[in-house]
């Protein structure tokens, strides 16, 4: 994995997707090291007296030619709200790339499904691109509350076939991702499932994969104080006991985790 850096970036674009989501593009003068999908960054949020620690975000995309990174940010609280309202030109101090284990790239020709919900779709975009580059055709299954919460659909569709579920049925299948027919049509044989999103979603997906003996990797979003392995706050229970999500993950093979079984 690349050396960790702490760099100042400038916001070069703040694209609002809907009332909840923005995509922030940030640029720096330094060269961006090679990023593995699933790796994340810890962003320092200035200008909000109520935010003390950095905030972790998956790297949604990277442009090595322009030294730029993209983040998909969902406004859920003080820090994300401040980030969502940043104007172009603002400076952001970013610690990256973090996470010693990103998603692994399935072998050529495998059939893979990338299942995401909420801001958890972010790392799947870079993963999709890296799979494509490695000769694997990704398919996406994205879930949301309703159609207005499904964002960047064209961008995902440009990478691979994309299925949708919405809780209210306003787009794709009605229900949660786990209810989508692509998972239940026995003619579909997935070799690998990647997932990132709300805990309940990932657990349902993990159960599904475990039952069918499909390789499955999940990217966890435990609350973090440091993001680089020194506070021991972000642990998950693994077969090896407590391990730090920030350094031993954030991506785990579900076989190494205990949570999906416990339910």
């Amino acid at each position: 994995m690349a050396k960790k850096l702490v760099l100042d970036f400038k916001v070069s674009e703040n694209r609002r997707l809907n009332s909840e989501y923005v995509v922030l593009t940030v640029k720096t003068d330094e060269e961006i090291p090679s990023i593995t999908a699933g790796q994340f960054a810890e962003i320092k949020v200035d200008g909000n007296a109520d935010v003390f620690l950095r905030r972790p975000f998956s790297i949604q995309d990277v442009d090595y030619n322009n030294n730029s990174l993209k983040f998909l940010i969902q406004s859920v609280g003080k820090g994300t709200e401040t980030l969502c309202n940043l104007s172009v030109g603002s400076t952001l101090n970013i610690l990256f790339p973090l996470g010693n284990r990103g998603f692994s790239i399935a072998p050529k020709e495998s059939r893979v499904l990338l299942i995401g919900g909420g801001c958890g779709i972010a790392p799947l975009m870079l993963l999709g691109k890296q799979l494509l580059a490695a000769g694997v055709k990704p398919e996406f299954l994205l879930g949301a509350r309703d159609i207005s919460a499904l964002t960047q659909t064209e961008e995902y569709e440009a990478i691979g076939k994309t299925y949708y579920t919405t809780v209210d049925g306003s787009k794709g299948t009605k229900g949660f991702v786990i209810h989508h027919p692509v998972l239940w049509d026995e003619s579909n044989q997935f070799d690998m499932i990647y997932t990132c999103g709300p805990d309940a979603m990932m657990k349902a997906v993990a159960k599904y994969a475990a039952k069918r003996n499909i390789e499955c990797e999940a990217s966890l979003e435990n609350t973090m104080a440091c993001g680089f392995g020194v506070c021991l706050c972000c642990v998950t229970e693994s077969v090896k006991g407590h391990v730090c999500v920030c350094t031993e993950g954030p991506v785990f093979n579900i076989k190494d985790l205990k949570w999906q079984i416990s339910e």
């Binding site: 050396k3 960790k4 850096l5 702490v6 320092k44 109520d50 935010v51 003390f52 620690l53 950095r54 610690l95 435990n222 609350t223 973090m224 104080a225 440091c226 993001g227 680089f228 392995g229 020194v230 506070c231 021991l232 706050c233 972000c234 642990v235 998950t236 229970e237 006991g241 407590h242 350094t247």
Partner: protein
């Protein structure tokens, strides 16, 4: 360049800036940013006799200008650390202290005996102040007799430098410091975390799996400074001060209040480069104010 060296007993520290136990790992995670060998000292994560899994997740809550943690002394146990981790980090050209924790006096003693075998480790920091474990931990640091008992037992078996780390969760910090001094401590470090709690009002649940946890960060700085100043006026042994140090000015405040050295904790999470910045900032302060050595400002508060 001012002289940043300090001394505790006969041990020299190249500068007063050290890292606080539990906030710096074993230094290795910082190698990407700078060489940990530039530090005055490294205090590694709390080490116990047996390996410990620590508390359940969630272990962290952000609070106004601070955070609560409930890690609960997760560590691989003293044998693993001495055999596997220490050999890897002893290359750093600085003083490495092992933070010793336990739930029984005997445990503290056994851990210390093992460390005593390794003469390249200059000292230990006796953690009688961890608020995040069910047994022992902070309980030792909140009464004079129990503090005295641990320090006495450990002193008997330990030849190196013995720093005792105090809990701020006490009515009178000076009486605890005095018994530690009386039982042979070479120095006092303080403060460990303040016992606190955070609640998620929407879910009507505590945020931490353990309900309560340890408060650190700038929020505690006024309490920490006050305790350093009180202890400085109560004992003769040197003090290592900490609690919310985020920059050189904060560090200087602790030194003025009476600390010989300082430890930086939570700030490492927010700015991994904070320690080198503090070292530089202390030097700049000394030069600007015409001091030749940092020792000139230890306890130099005027009032």
């Amino acid at each position: 360049m001012a002289d940043l060296r300090i001394k505790i007993k006969n041990l020299e520290f190249k500068n007063p800036v050290m890292t606080a136990s539990g906030t710096y790992g074993f230094g290795e995670e910082f190698e990407d940013y700078y060489n940990p060998g530039i530090l005055g000292g490294i205090f590694v994560k709390g080490t116990t006799l047996e390996p410990r899994q620590g508390n359940k997740y969630p272990r962290m809550a952000e609070t106004p200008s601070g955070m609560l943690n409930a890690v609960g002394l997760q560590n691989k146990g003293v044998d693993f650390i001495l055999e596997n981790t220490y050999p890897r980090i002893k290359k750093y050209d600085t003083n490495i202290f092992i933070n010793v924790s336990g739930s029984k006096v005997e445990d503290y003693v056994i851990v210390t005996e093992k460390i005593n075998e390794i003469k390249s480790i200059p000292g230990i920091e006796l953690n009688i102040s961890c608020p995040n474990v069910k047994e022992g931990g902070m309980a030792f640091g909140t009464s004079c007799p129990s503090a005295a008992a641990v320090v006495k037992a450990v002193r008997k078996v330990y030849d190196g430098m013995l720093i005792v780390k105090l809990s701020p969760n006490v009515t009178d910090i000076t009486e605890i410091a005095r018994v530690c001094e009386a039982e042979g401590a070479d120095g006092i470090s303080l403060i460990n975390t303040l016992l606190g709690m955070a609640i998620n009002a929407q879910k009507r649940k505590p945020i931490l799996s353990t309900v309560t946890g340890g408060l650190s960060g700038p929020a505690v700085k006024p309490v920490a400074l006050r305790m350093v100043w009180q202890v400085y006026n109560a004992v003769k042994i040197p003090i290592i001060g900490m609690g919310g140090i985020m920059n050189a000015t904060d560090a200087i405040e602790f030194i003025l209040a009476g600390a010989t050295g300082v430890q930086v904790g939570t700030a490492n999470f927010i700015d991994p480069m904070v320690c080198p910045k503090i070292i530089e900032g202390i030097n700049n302060y000394l030069e600007r104010h015409g001091f030749k050595s940092v020792t000139e400002i230890i306890g130099a508060l005027e009032y």
